[in-house]
Amino acid sequence: MHKDNVFKYLTINSVYLWLILFSICPLTLVVICSFLQHTPDQLFVWKFTLANYKTLLTPIYLKVFWRSLQLAFWVTVLCLIIGYPFAYFLTQLPSKIKGLMALFVIIPFWTSSLLRSYAIITIIQAHGLLNTFLIKIGVIDQPLQLLYTNTAVIIGLVYNLLPFVVLPLFSNMEKLDRRLIDAARDLGANGPTTFLRIILPLTKSGIYSAIMLTFLPAMTLFYIPDLLGGAKSLLLGNVIQTQFLSAENWPLGSALSLTLTVVMSLLLWFYFRSTPRSEREAL
C-alpha cells in the first residue's frame, strides 16, 4: 500500500470512528432507551414498552410540542426579519471593514450564552438599564414588566440565535451577483420587485440554512425560558432536561429527544428535496 493510501485509509476510518462513537452510538442508546420501561427507583428497566410514546400523545405533551413549535416559529421569523436586512447591510459595507463587522457579530458569542442571558436580565429587569432609561427620558413612569414573560424568552432566544441567521445569510448574499440587481433595475423593476423576485429567491438557500440553525435550538435552549421566562412555560428542551435530570425518567426523555430529532430530520429531508443541489451549498 502506498503512503497516500495509508493516510487516506486512516482519515476515512477515523471519520467513521468518530461518527460511530459520538453520533451513532449515543443515538442508538437513546433509541433503545426510549422503548424501555421506567420505575421510580431505577432509571430504566430492560423491558420493552411503547408507553413512552403513548405518553407523548397525551394532550399535555402535544400542547408543549405545539407551544414549542409556535415559539420556535416566531423566534425564527423575528430572527429573519432582523437578521436579513442586517446581513444585507453587512454586505454593502466597504470590503475593508466588512470582515471586521462580521467579526463583531461573532465576538459576543465567545462569551457563554448563559452569561449573556444573565446580562439580558440586568437590562430588562424591573430596575434594569432599559426601564431606568425609559423612565428617565419620560417614555414611561412605571417600570415595564418584561422579565419573566414570553416576551423576555423571545428576546433572549432571538438575541442568542441572531448570529446563526446573520452569518449564513451574509455568506450567501456575498455570493449574490450584484449585476443581477442592476439587470433587474434595468428591466424596470422597482426596489420591492427587485427584492421579492431577485434577491429573496437567490438568497433562499441562506434563509433555509438560517432556519435550520435557529428552529431547533429555539425549542431546546432550555435555560433561556428557565432564566428569562420564569421557568413556567415549559418548552420541549425543558421537558427533556427535567425528564433526564429531575424526573429521572430516562425512557420518556429519550422518547422526547428522539421525536424531536425525527421531526427535525423530516424538516431537513424536506429541505433537501425542495432545493436543487446547486442552491444548497450555503448550508
Binding site: 429587569q125 424591573a126 413556567k232 415549559l234 429531575s246 429521572e248
Partner: protein, 344 residues
C-alpha cells in the same frame, strides 16, 4: 451518556490519585461550603479536599445511581427528605457516631427526626424554613400571613415560587389538611388540582437565585427560604419574611457517607471537623443559613443569632414540620409537577 463518562472519569481519577495523598472527595450543593473551611481542614489534617458540586438532590441521586455506588465520593450533602430513598437504594454507609465526638454539639430538636430516627445515615448540617416573602414597599397593607393568602386574586401574575415540587406540594397538601409527606395518590392529585388554581398568580418559579430576584424587585411577593430571604433583607430592607401562622415547613441538609466511600476515615474526620463549634459558626455566618449546632449558635454574630428569620421562636414554629421521605410517590409528585409547569 455524558454522565456515565463523567462517572467513569471520576472513579478513574479518584483511584489514581488516592494513592499519592490523603484525600477527601466532597460532593456538595454549589455554594454550600465556604472555601475557607475546606482550606482550614486541609491545613489541620493534611488531607487534600477535592470538591465537586451539584444543583439538586436528583442530580446527586442520579450520579450515585449510574455509578452503581462507586462514585468515589466520601461526603455528600443530601436533603433529609432524600435520605430514605437513598438508603433504600443502598447508597448510604451506616454512620458510626463514636467516630464523631462533636455530634453532641447538635441541637436535640434536629436529631432523631422522622426522616432518620437514630441518625444512622445522616448528620445535620444546615437547616431552614419555607415561609412567605413580601416587599412592603409595594404592599404596605396587604394581609399576608397565611399560605392561603397566596391565592388572593390581587396577586395575579405576581408570585415567585420555588422551582421545586415538594416545596409547592407542601403548601397545597397542608392547606387541604393532609400530611406534607403523604404518599396517597388521591391526596397528591388533589394537591395538584389545588396548585393549578394558583397558576394565574404565578409570575415565576425559581430556585437558583430567589435572593437576587427579591433584592432587585423583579418579584416582590411570594415564597422563600429563610436563609435566602435573610440575605435579601440585608440589601433590601423593604422585604419581610413571614412565618405563616397556619404552618411552617422546615428543611434540612445533612452530611452523609456514600457506600464504598474510598476514604471513609477522612470522611469521619471531616464531619467531626464541621461539627466543631467554631467551624459550624463560620459556615453559618458565611452562608447565612441556620445552624443546627447549639454550641456554634452561641458564637454567631449577634444580628444573626437574634434574627427571627434565621432562628424563629417557639410561636413561629408551633405548626412546623420537616419534609421526610415520600418513597415511590416521588415519581408521582414529579409527574404532577411537570404537568403543572407544562400547563402554565
Amino acid at each position: 451518556m455524558k454522565r456515565i463518562l463523567l462517572a467513569f472519569l471520576l472513579i478513574f481519577s479518584a483511584s489514581v490519585f488516592a494513592k499519592q495523598h490523603e484525600i477527601l472527595n466532597i460532593y456538595n450543593w454549589g455554594g454550600f461550603l465556604p472555601d475557607t473551611v475546606a482550606d482550614e481542614f486541609t491545613k489541620e489534617t493534611g488531607i487534600k479536599v477535592r470538591y465537586s458540586t451539584y444543583m439538586s438532590d436528583q442530580d446527586l441521586y442520579a450520579k450515585l445511581a449510574i455509578a452503581y455506588n462507586n462514585s468515589g465520593y466520601d461526603v455528600i450533602f443530601p436533603s433529609v427528605e432524600f435520605l430514605g430513598r437513598m438508603e433504600r437504594a443502598g447508597m448510604l454507609e451506616k454512620i458510626d457516631k463514636t467516630k464523631i465526638p462533636n455530634f453532641k454539639n447538635l441541637d436535640p430538636h434536629f436529631v432523631d427526626q422522622a426522616f432518620d430516627p437514630q441518625n444512622n445515615y445522616s448528620v445535620p448540617y444546615l437547616w431552614g424554613s419555607t415561609g412567605l416573602v413580601i416587599n412592603r414597599k409595594y404592599y404596605p397593607h396587604l394581609k399576608f400571613d397565611r399560605w392561603h393568602d397566596l391565592w388572593d386574586p390581587v396577586l395575579k401574575d405576581k408570585l415567585l415560587l420555588m422551582d421545586d415540587p415538594r416545596t409547592n406540594f407542601d403548601i397545597a397538601l397542608h392547606l387541604l389538611g393532609y400530611s406534607i409527606n403523604t404518599q396517597d395518590p388521591k391526596q397528591i392529585k388533589q394537591a395538584y388540582e389545588k396548585l393549578r388554581t394558583l397558576l394565574p398568580n404565578i409570575k415565576l418559579f425559581n430556585m437558583i437565585a430567589p435572593q437576587s430576584i427579591y433584592t432587585n424587585e423583579n418579584a416582590v411577593i411570594g415564597v422563600g427560604y429563610s436563609g435566602d430571604t435573610y440575605a435579601a433583607i440585608l440589601s433590601n430592607p423593604g422585604l419581610e419574611f413571614i412565618y405563616p401562622n397556619d404552618g411552617v415547613f422546615l428543611w434540612m441538609n445533612s452530611m452523609a457517607i456514600p457506600k464504598n466511600a474510598p476514604n471513609r476515615d477522612n470522611a469521619y474526620k471531616f464531619i467531626n471537623f464541621i461539627l466543631r463549634p467554631d467551624i459550624a459558626a463560620q459556615i453559618a455566618t458565611t452562608l447565612r443559613y441556620s445552624t443546627p449546632n447549639l454550641a456554634a449558635k452561641k458564637l454567631l454574630p449577634k444580628e444573626q443569632r437574634d434574627s427571627r428569620v434565621l432562628y424563629p421562636n417557639a410561636v413561629d414554629l408551633k405548626n412546623s414540620q420537616f419534609e421526610t421521605d415520600i418513597g415511590g410517590a416521588n415519581e408521582l409528585y414529579e409527574q404532577y409537577w411537570q404537568e403543572l409547569k407544562m400547563t402554565t
